[in-house]
Symmetry: C2
Subunit: 147 residues, 2 copies
Amino acid sequence: MCLALGEARAAGEGGDVPIGAIVARDGEVVAAAGNEREAAGDPTAHAEILALRRAATTLGSWRLTGCSVYVTLEPCPMCAGALVAARVDRVVFAAPDPKAGACGSLYNLCVDPRLNHEVEVVAGFAAGESAELLRSFFAERREPLAE
Amino acid sequence: MCLALGEARAAGEGGDVPIGAIVARDGEVVAAAGNEREAAGDPTAHAEILALRRAATTLGSWRLTGCSVYVTLEPCPMCAGALVAARVDRVVFAAPDPKAGACGSLYNLCVDPRLNHEVEVVAGFAAGESAELLRSFFAERREPLAE
């Protein structure tokens, strides 16, 4: 999660909401990405989507069986759906997202037995550090009240 | 939808599950894509994701306000979440997907007032033609519908 937080920090320094993700398999990092929605002008360029795409390129398969994804914020519906689509084994997220989280907050798409794959969800690892990173990002950008 | 079905047919001829999508704005086609999961080895390369990414590149913004997406199969959770994330106005789909559909079948992520955007859903346009395309694809390959 330390590496994912590093990706999140780098995304924030580039002007994107600071969220980072890592894909690992057998204890090795396969792919890493930060959120690039603003930098790339791509609505799908969330950290998880980019990390999954990079992992598939590295591993030579869209099936990411045996992989775990570490992400600094609870995945949104798009990203939770992507974790299922990529057949990853596990997602570990730091801060919960009560407004859009789809791994336990609003939905839990990862553990729906009606879908053709289930992803184990582990929550709360380094949640405070991730939440503080997001809080300070938005606090810095909040415009002061007009006098 | 005729153009989306053309993209679906081309995807099927390339060995991918035949699903196609179009993004349109003000009556003009902005982007088109077929499913490329197998061809690209990318778990996120569903037709809708690719079409949204291409539309964002063409329009120079990740916010696809004013856009409608036409897709031959009801979007899965990842793709329905992407439609919300991209802020499109409307999705029109052909065949329903009772196994993974997230625009009315298993979920309806597009019209959840808790999320920060809602997408109008129109269903059933050219459903028979799309369903037949999928049925014949899987019949030829004797594989279950699993995308």
